[in-house]
């Protein structure tokens, strides 16, 4: 009888421990979730569309650095795109996907921006990065801009040059059109007349 009581006590004790552990873990997860959207990647479009919800929270975005690396005092300002062209741009062979670019300005502290060096452009596919930082719906520090203040930056993929091979079919069209133009010029056989 005593044993049964003991064992039921220990079961109750274990259950209480589990309950406390679950409660503590739950609280921690919820608390973590309120300041950071976990280690889950957030799409930039979601941030723009639900800016009020994400305002002031820690977020993580992944995308291509495009345009310029602008030095602004203690920060470097970059633009990160996570649209379909962030992995393969149109100049590097992607077909138009029916959408435009989707990007956001990211303020990176100088000490964390050293590795960012090659933004994407016509000539190259830029570095692909992971940014963790605070999202601002209307950043008071930066004139109401929607931006991210980065806390961590990780280079996921390095940049690479896009090889632009001459498209010979275009060259052929130029040759054909040039021939037609010369023929027409000869046919006109007079200087272009001006009105009056």
């Amino acid at each position: 009888m005593k044993d049964t009581k003991k064992s039921s006590k220990s079961i109750l004790g274990a259950l209480a421990l589990v309950l406390v552990a679950v409660l503590v873990a739950g609280t921690l997860i919820l608390a973590h979730g309120s300041t950071c959207h976990g280690s889950e990647k957030t799409r930039i479009n979601d941030l723009i569309e639900n800016a009020k919800e994400y305002d002031g929270r820690n977020v993580m975005v992944e995308g291509e650095v495009v345009g310029d690396k602008l030095q602004r005092g203690e920060y470097v300002l970059i633009t990160v795109n996570d649209d379909p062209y962030s992995k393969q741009s149109i100049p590097s062979g992607s077909k138009p996907k029916g959408v435009g670019n989707i990007g956001i300005g990211v303020w990176v502290p100088n000490n964390k921006a050293k590795e960012i060096s090659v933004p994407g452009s016509y000539e190259r596919q830029g570095q692909y990065v992971r940014i963790e930082g605070v999202f601002n719906r209307a950043c008071a520090e930066h004139g109401g801009d929607m931006d991210i203040h980065a806390e961590n930056v990780e280079i996921l993929k390095s940049a690479h040059l896009i090889r632009h091979h001459i498209q010979f079919w275009k060259l052929l069209i130029v040759l054909v059109l040039s021939s037609i133009t010369i023929a027409l010029l000869l046919a006109v056989r007079r200087p272009a007349k001006k009105i009056e």
Binding site: D68, A187, I195
Partner: protein, 507 residues
């Protein structure tokens, strides 16, 4: 009775359009040069194809349509209206060949948007676009701001009475100087002077904001062209938000406000008549409507509470409002922010600002300040007549370079054009609603297109319905040409089928 156009009429129109297209081909030489300097050889080939096609078109019209006759009013209007359409189709060649467009229609949309200084675009992956393509986009809007016809008149026509009729067809009625060719050249001198000064200021500020000298030089020229022409194009997809720079925003705002003023006003000020800035009806109208719409926007933004300090309200609210009012379309926010962050009231304040628009004979669109001035004065005139003794003669005048006495014809003409704009805005809005967009979004983008502004609340995208793309092209074109030329072209097409074929002779 409608007269069917004669063969001679069609030849003359064809020959005029050929000249306009020669102008388009000539403009393409600049992006070709930029592409070559940037070692973008495929892009250079795109422009070579575009130039040669324009040349072939122009030479063919020279062969088949050459005429010694002079333009009548209807010829001039039709050349202007049809010339823009042909210029759009042929100008879209380098766009389409770039691979950045889902269809040729999309490329045409961007071309019309550029020529009409609207600034809406369907180009995909702008952030990876070449220097050559970006130069073409911005040059289009810069030349379109002065007018393709003005460009052609400046550089390709020797000058006739007929040339003035084509000039008027492009939505510009004012002769700054007695000769229309001199007027066209004066417009270009004003624009090129500002280009040098404005680009230099932007270049310095962009360099100061951390951009490399080479990139900032190109960006400064493009930003100037976009702002001055009230086109609102920018080389990056985030538009002005890309730079996150108060300095650049202030400079572009100054540029697009000056760009939205009447060229006749510019010329008067250049001639030393500085008091014109205070007295001019368009400036007064602009100041009044900006103040009213800014107040409405302020109320709306306060209600939403998104932007917490005065600087943010200025950079997000006032900047985008003035950009809308001058029909520029440069923006410092995302498209959907107009709905989500501005809210209903501020969004409709922006729509009203876009609908009113800039000055007549400027690079801008919309009803125009001149017509708003006439509208206001005509109401005041009516009130004054009502309260005055029957025997008294009540006159009302407006000041635009000189004092102009208001008459019923002037009021009727202004009202007709305003009504045309309203009709195009409403039809576009209803079409958008029929496709399932919310009324605010549908009207926002429809007004933006027809007033040649370029702000978007998210409707304009490569995936928008084809019918809406076609309607928006029409709205941009008709709005830019202020309808008269479009009516003339429509009349000619009708008369081709239904007109009486009488023997007439052209002068």
């Amino acid at each position: 009775m409608i007269f069917a156009p004669l063969r001679e009429d069609l030849k003359l129109i064809g020959w005029g359009i050929g000249h306009v297209i020669l102008g388009v081909g000539a403009i393409m030489l600049i992006p070709l040069g930029v592409a070559a300097l940037s070692s973008e050889w495929n892009v250079a080939l795109d422009f070579a194809i575009g130039i040669l096609t324009c040349l072939i078109f122009s030479l063919t019209t020279e062969l088949t349509c050459h005429s010694e006759k002079d333009f009548s009013w209807s010829h001039g209007l039709i050349v202007a209206a049809a010339g823009w359409i042909v210029a759009m189709v042929l100008g879209a060649i380098p766009h389409y060949l770039s691979g950045h467009f889902g269809s040729y229609l999309d490329a045409c949309f961007d071309l019309m948007s550029g020529y009409t200084t609207t600034g809406l675009y369907l180009l995909q992956d702008l952030d990876h676009a070449s220097n050559g393509l970006n130069m073409w986009r911005h040059l289009l809007t810069y030349v379109g701001g002065q007018g393709i016809i003005v460009f052609t008149l400046t550089f390709l026509f020797a000058g006739t009475a007929g040339a003035f009729k084509i000039y008027v067809g492009e939505g510009k009625e004012e002769k700054i100087l007695p000769n229309v060719i001199q007027t066209a050249r004066a417009i270009w001198i004003i624009s090129l002077t500002y280009l040098i000064v404005g680009s230099a200021a932007l270049w310095i500020s962009l360099s100061f904001e951390g951009m490399s000298p080479g990139r900032s030089l190109l960006h400064s020229i493009w930003l100037f062209m976009g702002a001055w022409s009230t086109g609102g194009f920018a080389p990056q997809s985030l538009n002005l938000l890309y730079y996150h720079s108060f300095l650049v925003e202030i400079l572009t705002m100054v540029i697009f406000v000056i760009g939205s003023f009447n060229f006749a006003l510019h010329y008067a000020v250049w001639q030393g008549k500085r008091s014109e800035i205070v007295k001019n009806v368009e400036i007064r109208s602009f100041a009044t409507t900006v103040t009213i719409t800014a107040l409405i926007m302020g109320i709306g933004m306060q209600k939403m509470g998104t932007y917490g300090n005065a600087l943010s309200v200025f950079r997000k609210g006032f900047y985008n409002l003035v950009s809308a009012h001058t029909t520029t379309g440069n923006n410092t926010i995302y498209a959907t922010s107009f709905i989500k962050e501005f809210g209903f009231i501020a969004m409709w304040a922006t729509i009203i600002a876009m609908a009113i628009g800039a000055s007549a004979c400027s690079t801008g669109g919309g009803f125009k300040g001149f017509r708003m001035g006439i509208l206001y004065r005509s109401i005041r005139w009516d009130v004054r007549r009502m309260v005055s003794p029957e025997s008294s003669v009540v006159v009302e005048k407006i000041h635009h370079i000189k004092d102009i006495f208001l008459d019923d014809r002037m009021i009727k003409s202004a009202m007709t054009i305003i009504l045309c704009y309203v009709a195009v805005y409403v039809v576009g809005g209803i079409l958008g609603i029929m496709y399932g967009y919310s009324p605010s979004v549908a009207f926002f983008d429809a007004v933006s297109a027809a007033s040649n502004t370029g702000h978007s609340a998210g409707l304009v995208s490569p995936g928008m319905p084809v019918l809406l793309k076609i309607y928006y092209i029409f709205a941009m074109w008709a709005g830019r040409l202020e309808f008269v030329s479009v009516f003339a072209l429509g009349g000619m097409i009708v008369s081709l089928y239904r007109g009486e074929r009488l023997k007439r002779t052209l002068r």
